[in-house]
């Protein structure tokens, strides 16, 4: 599948950072069949890029050291299209996404697995770029990719490349008590401007013709989570990176777990000028757009100001804001105060938001 393929539904190819010539070397079905080509691919590309003692050993299973405390285990799959977007790619997304899941669950991320499902015809150059991106993200977050798998599927059976990960981390005390423990008057915070990833993907995939292309917030939340744990300790109830469905989805989840109402003020919510402009133009609500490096946090009553202060002292969360509070269950699980008028229900997001003319 070449760069100049006219299949308009091969959206994974959009926004490719490099030009792929006609005769570029590509992944074939043979690469996934366990023979010489497979080994070559794994050793020369995958292990070479990711480069750690576990992978180099090329065992069927990584032999990991003992950990004293309890563990956290997460899994995730990444099927984003396009594969390359402003601010990241499927590789960095896979690492940061998994690491963030562990971090917000109260764990120090340690080890990741990496499974690649590659579509026949995928250019090797692009695979290399993605592997390098994975390696960079792993170094940044100090995790090791310790095990992996590679499969190749026929044309059309995967959107270029799918990635699956599992992540293991060591739970550190105090572990956030969870959304079930939310109480009235607890305070709600968002760690940065919202909706960036969703808008970045939409702008590229739907070829909206926007300049500059809005940037995804794809990134690690490890450091802010760590600082919150250190400074606020058990005053943090729960944290969640607001991925698909955006901030609205997280709030609905927490409302269901706690059976309380989570109430936010639209005017407090940070939104970048780019996201604002695109959302106004297309009739979208930033609260429903995905994030990949921005989280929602609930803290005990009175701890909000301190939490925001901690977050604002870090570059990646410099725009953190208090956005609302937890209340007794009222008219709806999640409510929002808009520019005017009484608080109103905030929709549970349904499906992917679609641009509209109406």
């Amino acid at each position: 599948m070449q760069n100049n393929d006219k299949n308009i539904f091969a959206s994974w190819q959009m926004n490719c950072p490099v030009f792929i010539p006609e005769n570029a070397e590509c992944i074939t079905l043979a690469h996934g069949e366990g023979g010489r080509l497979s080994r070559k691919l794994i050793q020369e590309r995958i292990v070479h890029s990711l480069n750690n003692e576990y992978l180099i050993a090329l065992n069927d299973a990584a032999q990991l050291p003992r950990i004293e405390g309890p563990l956290a285990l997460t899994t995730d799959s990444f099927v984003v299209s396009p594969l390359f977007f402003p601010g990241g790619d499927i590789g960095s997304l896979a690492v940061f996404g998994t690491v963030n899941d562990l971090a917000v669950s109260g764990a120090l991320p340690l080890w990741l697995t990496l499974s690649l499902i590659i579509e026949e015809g995928f250019p090797l150059t692009l695979l290399e770029l993605i592997l390098e991106s994975i390696a960079r993200a792993a170094r940044k977050t100090r995790v090791k990719i310790v095990a992996g798998d590679t499969k190749v599927v026929p044309h059309g059976a995967a959107d270029g490349l799918f990635i699956n990960t599992a992540g293991v981390g060591e739970l550190l005390t105090p572990i956030p008590s969870g959304a079930e423990t939310l109480q009235e008057n607890d305070e709600l915070i968002v760690s940065g401007p919202i909706g960036q990833h969703g808008i970045a993907i939409l702008a590229v995939r739907e070829e909206l013709g926007l300049e500059p292309l809005p940037l995804s917030d794809c990134g690690s939340l490890m450091r802010p989570v760590e600082r919150l744990r250190d400074e606020l300790k058990d005053q943090v109830r729960c944290l969640r990176d607001a991925t698909r469905g955006g901030v609205a989805a997280v709030l609905h989840e927490w409302a269901e777990a706690s059976q309380l109402t989570l109430s936010i003020d639209e005017r407090s919510i940070p939104v970048s000028p780019e996201v604002r402009g695109v959302c106004e133009l297309l009739g979208l609500d930033p609260l429903h757009m995905a994030n990949e490096g921005t989280m929602v946090i609930a803290v005990k009553q009175g701890a909000g100001v301190a939490a925001v202060s901690v977050l604002q002292s870090l570059s990646e969360t410099a725009n953190a804001r208090l956005i609302g509070t937890v209340k007794p269950r009222g008219i709806a699980p999640v409510t929002v105060c808009r520019t005017l008028g009484p608080e109103q229900q905030l929709d549970d997001p349904m499906g992917s938001p679609l641009p509209r003319i109406c």
Partner: protein, 363 residues
Amino acid sequence: MKYLDEYRDPKAAQLLLDEIRRITSRCWTLMEVCGGQTHGLLRHGIAAELEGTIELIHGPGCPVCVTDQAAIDFACQLSQREDVVLTSFGDMLRVPGSRGSLLDAQTAGAKIRIVYSPSDAVELARKHPEEQFVFFAVGFETTAPATALAVKQARRDQLENFSMIVSHVRVQPAMEALVRAPDNRVQAFLAAGHVCAVMGYQSYESFVKRYQVPVVVTGFEPLDLLEGILACVRQLEANEAKLENHYTRTVSPTGNLAAQDLVQEIYQVCDGAWRGFGIVPEGGLELRPEWQAYDARMRFTEPALPVIDTDECRSFEVMTGHIKPPECPHFGKRCTPELPLGAPMVSSEGACAAYYRYGVRTS
């Protein structure tokens, strides 16, 4: 954002609200025609604030809601052809047709692309000459200039792989049908601001004279909506019936002549099929004969499958203001945005979806 934020100022809005309450001596019944206005009234809490003071009936101004079901069915049918890529505004994707929506067709493998502008569909056609691109041209007179331009671009570029399913509808004939209905309760209209930006509003003079009902051209932001409502109430309190423009920063009496010329070059008026209404005389637009090469109904001549109308959706009663969405027995139960029975629950401007989304569950 300039020309948006300042019209959302809460203090200014409160002043206008107070003034409306101060001068209102009885509960007048107003209709905002345009779905965008419905959206604004609900989202910004204005309808809630005026509860008990003014009755707001949400009119049929949602082109997504009134797009003829046969057109949606035809779009679904064409999208399933191997050689066709259907392009559409995002709003149309979830609207149910006889055999599912465009989104259902896409799930089943149809090639469907969302575009923000019809010209983007032309651009796709230019880039991919091997596929036939069909654009689903819905919308009021506001959208007609954009689709007209797309057809002109296709001709300029001599594209043979671009055509449109034209399903434009015209607002004023529908307002006439509404106001002539024997049980009409609407005492004043907030006219659709962006339709008027294109068409002007002088054509409403005779409407106001004949039906003796105030018509106020109104915008979409909170201050615009409140200003329009205030103007209607002032007239009603003084027993007047006049045509006024309260969206003057965007709308002039004659509208945008260049836009009108563009529309008239490509389209002519015809009877329009409005979902829920039936045929509205002169309520639609169709391509002029010299542009019919770009008419998808001419290009793809396979017979259309029959329309299946379940009759369960009470959209007509909602859109004409006879019932509010929560008064429909299906609202929130069998009919939700996830599983809509009809268009008003799907479109973000549909009255039912707006009520559902902004949490108004009881009448």
